[in-house]
């Protein structure tokens, strides 16, 4: 049997400024997740900002950093990526945007 593969759009055209997080997403069936952040528009961002990170959770309500960090890309259509394994059941992406910056983002999980 072919293994399952699924792409989930967990944020679409959402504007990140200050603190932001995606909604909890269950993917306990998957062994791996690739997280992409695509910037649709932005201002005040520099490359290498590492403003976003992956979090995991025992219950979808209490969260802990998984350890992966990734940029919120400064350029329109820029893409950043993190690869995650052993995440249990719950995933989300949180960001702490630099002062005076903002970005409209597309955040996707690629699961299999």
């Amino acid at each position: 049997m072919l293994r399952h593969s699924h792409t989930a759009v967990i944020a679409r055209n959402e504007v990140w400024a200050g603190s932001a997080e995606t909604e909890p997403y269950e993917a306990g069936w998957a062994r791996e997740a690739v997280v992409f952040i695509t910037t649709l528009s932005s201002s005040g961002l520099a490359e290498g900002n590492r403003a976003a990170r992956v979090q995991i959770s025992p219950d979808g309500m209490r969260w802990v950093d998984e350890g992966s960090k990734l940029d919120v890309p400064a350029q329109t259509d820029g893409v950043s990526v993190a690869r995650v394994r052993h995440f249990g059941n719950w995933l989300r992406v949180v960001s702490e945007m630099p002062a005076a910056s903002r970005a409209a983002v597309l955040v996707t999980l690629h699961l299999k």
Binding site: H4, H6, G28, W29, D59
Partner: protein, 301 residues
């Protein structure tokens, strides 16, 4: 055991074969199985509903922007762990944001090949997020389902028809527990500049009407992390474009003279459309979850 008192007919044999197959024996399908979705096999074509747009995502009607992607869930809870689904580990889960009025919608997009009766059956349960140690029975506003249909391109009665039904669980923090339908929708907006794309928001809180005799008390259970599966069967005739039946568990509701669907002029690119969608809506600042395990769409031969 049922004993036949006549020579078995083709219908008897079909029924017997189906009853011997656990995946089908919990449904009462019409002869043609159009789709039989078991979410142990993935999301089976259900995807988040997205609003139309042209040129930019910013052109999308704002009501659609907050919808979230459905996910495959083990119904995992902080106090009991994974409950699993009705038939296996996994169910399809729709989740709202933690905001009163927030909605989530999952849709499966098909077309039909014959204007004939169809039947939608599914097993469901709904719960609020277990973020408080309270009963929380009125934190989910509603769950529901809809069909989005359009006649064939050569049919003389061209129309887009959208039967909507929801179970209004609570309103403003008070239990309501009744079935409602909708026959009116919001205005259709043109999007972009090419005069090709339109959009209308048909899931607003407005225009829901009570189904006559549509009160029903479901099995919410006693804490937010105990869930029980329920059954719904909805019949629709694609020939007459009329809903013909609604059943939830042991209750059969009359879709008589007072019931109707949202009806719109036929749209240019939707011929023979047969979409089915499910939705969930929060009534408090707490995420609302709808779980589906087993969706069967069947039709007449």
């Amino acid at each position: 055991m049922n004993v036949l008192t006549h020579a078995p007919t083709a219908a008897d044999l079909l029924q017997t074969l189906r009853l011997a197959q656990p995946a089908l024996s919990r449904f009462d399908p019409l002869p043609r199985i159009i789709s039989l979705d078991d979410f142990n096999r993935g999301s089976c074509g259900f995807v988040q509903l997205i609003g139309n747009y042209e040129g930019s995502l910013d052109s999308m009607l704002p009501e659609y922007a907050g919808f979230r992607a459905p996910m495959i869930s083990t119904l995992s809870h902080w106090d009991t762990g994974s409950q699993g689904a009705m038939g296996g580990d996994y169910a399809l889960k729709l989740a709202t944001r933690a905001e009163a009025g927030a909605q989530s919608v999952a849709i499966k997009r098909l077309t039909f090949r014959k204007r004939a009766p169809i039947r939608l059956e599914f097993y469901f349960t709904f719960k609020p997020e277990a973020s408080e140690m309270r009963l929380s029975e009125a934190d989910v506003r509603s769950f529901g389902f809809l069909l989005d249909l359009q006649t064939g391109d050569t049919d003389s009665d061209g129309a887009r028809v959208m039967p909507h039904l929801r179970f209004l669980n609570a309103s403003n923090g008070q239990h309501a527990q009744r079935w409602q339908f909708k026959r009116r929708s919001k205005a259709v907006h043109k999007l972009g500049t090419e005069d090709k794309v339109v959009s209308h928001f048909h899931l607003s809180e407005d225009d829901w009407e009570d189904l006559a005799g549509g009160g029903q008390r479901l099995c919410y259970n006693e804490i937010p992390t105990k869930v029980n599966w329920h059954y719904v069967c909805f019949d629709f005739d694609l020939q007459t474009m009329q809903a013909t039946g609604l059943r939830c568990n042991d209750r059969v509701f009359d879709l008589g003279a007072s019931h109707d669907c949202i009806r719109l002029p036929a749209m240019p690119n939707l011929w023979c459309m047969l979409n089915l969608a499910f939705f969930i809506e929060a009534d408090s600042a707490k995420r609302a979850f709808l779980y589906l395990d087993g969706v069967c769409l069947s039709g007449a031969l």
